[in-house]
Every structure is written in structure tokens, then in C-alpha cells.
Symmetry: C2
Subunit: 194 residues, 2 copies
């Protein structure tokens, strides 16, 4: 594992300063920021691209897609922008990927999404753990491997960020699905709802 | 759930500015910062106090305690301070509690610890989820309810922060333990190790 100093010392900088972006990367005001080398959008077999969430994805069906996973009331443009900015301010410690089909109707272009957030610990010399959350594929686009592509990319990003593991919680029915991404069952998820 | 704007708009401020603390609260350089009303250290039946992690807890056995949970190499004073500062900069979005026995030898005073970090989502109108991690009780102090006290306090903090749920992952053997804190089994934890 990385030394604690190397691992920890980057956190404050990322949390407190907008990362310096290459000139070619759009501002974090409109796109999730990244200071790490970022692969170009991947062309899948069916023209769908996997990329980071952009603020304009509110108009491309991002929230209706999330509502297929859990309660997701609509957000006004300014509410969406506020949420986006708060998450983008976390830099590489929070990544939302989307699968976009540029051939679809504008408001139905976002077909899949998934999120990674990076937790810092005192354990493991100041180690990092990736948490995958909020993975969903549009009901009309299932069976095309879009969710797996999103998850695999999130796992790659976590590995590149120096995480020693990535974890997620799912229903028992989804064990085999995530096994395709290299996940193995490790424990039990417990919850308290307020 | 809170509106997205109310929920999200606080994040950037916390991430980018050190919170303004009441005069009576020690600086975040030495103690985990808090902008929310914080209960006084709780006296348990056996004089053990539950409180937030302080930087001086490195000298009170915090890392040896964590090493009972997972690999936890020692950190130098400056490495520990760097980790501490990075986590403290997250304000109320990251809380580490410890149970301290002031009657014990100085280097063995920290008997239990547990961590809460708060995840922000687009789901649920910009909702928040609390994640409980890294709960451990010193082998010589088990059976005194210290871990449950730490976890219950973390759950209270998450509720106070507006989380709609708190989740954790554990081994199947610990189901009954966390049930005492109101947790119910919800799913399966999956992991990839690098």
C-alpha cells in the first residue's frame, strides 16, 4: 500500500482546491473534474459511449434513469447544478459515469450510470477503499452489457486511484452479475432506515 | 427528505472551508471538527467516555486498536497528522469516535472506535447515506457494550445530519450484534481486492 503521507496528503488539496485541469478538459462547472489521466470515451459495440457525468445530462434522462433504481424526485436546474457542483468539488474522490447513446432521442440518451466514491482510512497506512453505488441500466437497454462496462470502468478508476479494494452492496440475485466484474461475496449488508 | 438544494448546498462549503467552530471547541488541527451541536462526552457506567478522535489519540493506542481489526501499520507523527487533517477537513461528513478510559495506562486508553462517513447522492432529492466503517473494540475490553455505544452514537450523528439511512457491512456472525443497534439485514456485500 502507499505510505500514509503519500496517500493522505492529496486529500486536502483535492477537497479544498479545484484541481488544475488540462486545457482540453471541460470545467468542473459542467463536467465531473479529473486530475488523473482519463481514458477517452469508450466506443462500445453499439455506439454507446461511457463517460463522466456532465451537467447537461439532466436534459438527457439522468434522473428518470436513477428513478428506476430508487426514489428520485426531479430536481430543478439550479438544484441539479448545486448537487453536481458539490460532488464535482470532491474531484477524483467521487466519480459518476454514464453510458450515452448519441443516436437516441435527446431526453433518453443516458442508458446506464454508476458511481464510485473513495473512502480514506487510517487502516492500511492511510489506505483507500472504493465504494460502488447507484448502478442502474435503463429497462429498455438491458442485456447489452452496459452496466457491466460502467462497473468495470469504475473498478479500473478505483485501482488507478490506489484503492486496495472496491466494495458494493447488492441483492442476492445480483451476485452472479457482479461476479462477472470480478467481485466475490464478502459479507452481509446491514441497514437502519430513518 | 430534505430538498436537494438544502442538502447539497452545504457540501461545498464544508469541503472547501474549515467550519466555523464555537470558541469552546478545539481546533480541527487537533480534534475532528464539528459544526453541529455536539453532545458532551458521555459517561458510561464504567467511566469510559465516548468522544471524537483527537490527534493526541495516536499516543493513546488508537493505531494498535485498529490493528486488531485489519492491517494497520504504524504511522509516524507527521503521517498521522496528515491523515488526521485530511479527514478533519471533511467536517461533519467524516466522524471518528473513540471510547476512552481515562483510568487506563496512557498508551492503552482508547478501547473502541468506529467511523461514519456521509455520502451524497442525486437519489432522494439529493439525499445522504451514512456509512459505518472500522468498528473495533479492544480484545481486553469486550463485553462492556463499548462498541454498541460507539455505533449507536454514530447512528445518532447520521440521523442528525439528515441521512435517510445508515449502512454497514459485517461478517454473518455479527448480525445479532448490529441488530442490537437497530440494523436489519438488507443485502450482500461484494468485493474486489487489488
Amino acid at each position: 500500500p502507499p505510505t500514509a503521507h503519500a496517500s493522505c496528503s492529496t486529500r486536502k488539496k483535492k477537497a479544498c482546491h479545484l484541481p488544475k485541469l488540462p486545457a482540453s478538459v471541460p470545467s468542473s462547472r459542467t463536467q465531473m473534474a479529473s486530475t488523473s489521466p482519463e481514458p477517452a470515451a469508450t466506443e462500445t459495440g453499439d455506439s454507446v459511449k461511457i463517460r463522466r457525468l456532465q451537467i447537461a445530462d439532466r436534459e438527457r434522462g439522468f434522473l428518470p434513469l436513477l428513478s428506476q433504481l430508487s426514489s428520485c424526485p426531479d430536481l430543478t436546474e439550479s438544484e441539479f447544478a448545486a448537487c453536481f457542483a458539490d460532488l464535482a468539488a470532491l474531484g477524483d474522490d467521487h466519480v459518476i459515469l454514464v453510458a450515452e447513446d448519441p443516436a437516441a432521442a435527446p431526453e433518453r440518451r443516458i442508458l446506464s450510470t454508476g458511481c464510485l466514491f473513495v473512502e480514506r482510512k487510517f487502516l492500511r497506512g492511510g489506505g483507500k477503499v472504493g465504494h460502488v453505488e447507484d448502478v442502474v441500466v435503463d429497462a429498455a437497454a438491458r442485456g447489452r452489457g452496459l452496466g457491466l462496462r460502467v462497473v468495470r470502468r469504475l473498478v479500473e478508476i478505483a485501482k488507478g486511484a490506489g484503492c486496495y479494494k472496491v466494495i458494493l452492496d447488492c441483492t442476492p440475485e445480483l451476485r452472479a452479475y457482479y461476479a462477472k466484474c470480478g467481485f466475490v461475496e464478502k459479507g452481509v449488508q446491514m441497514a437502519v432506515y430513518f
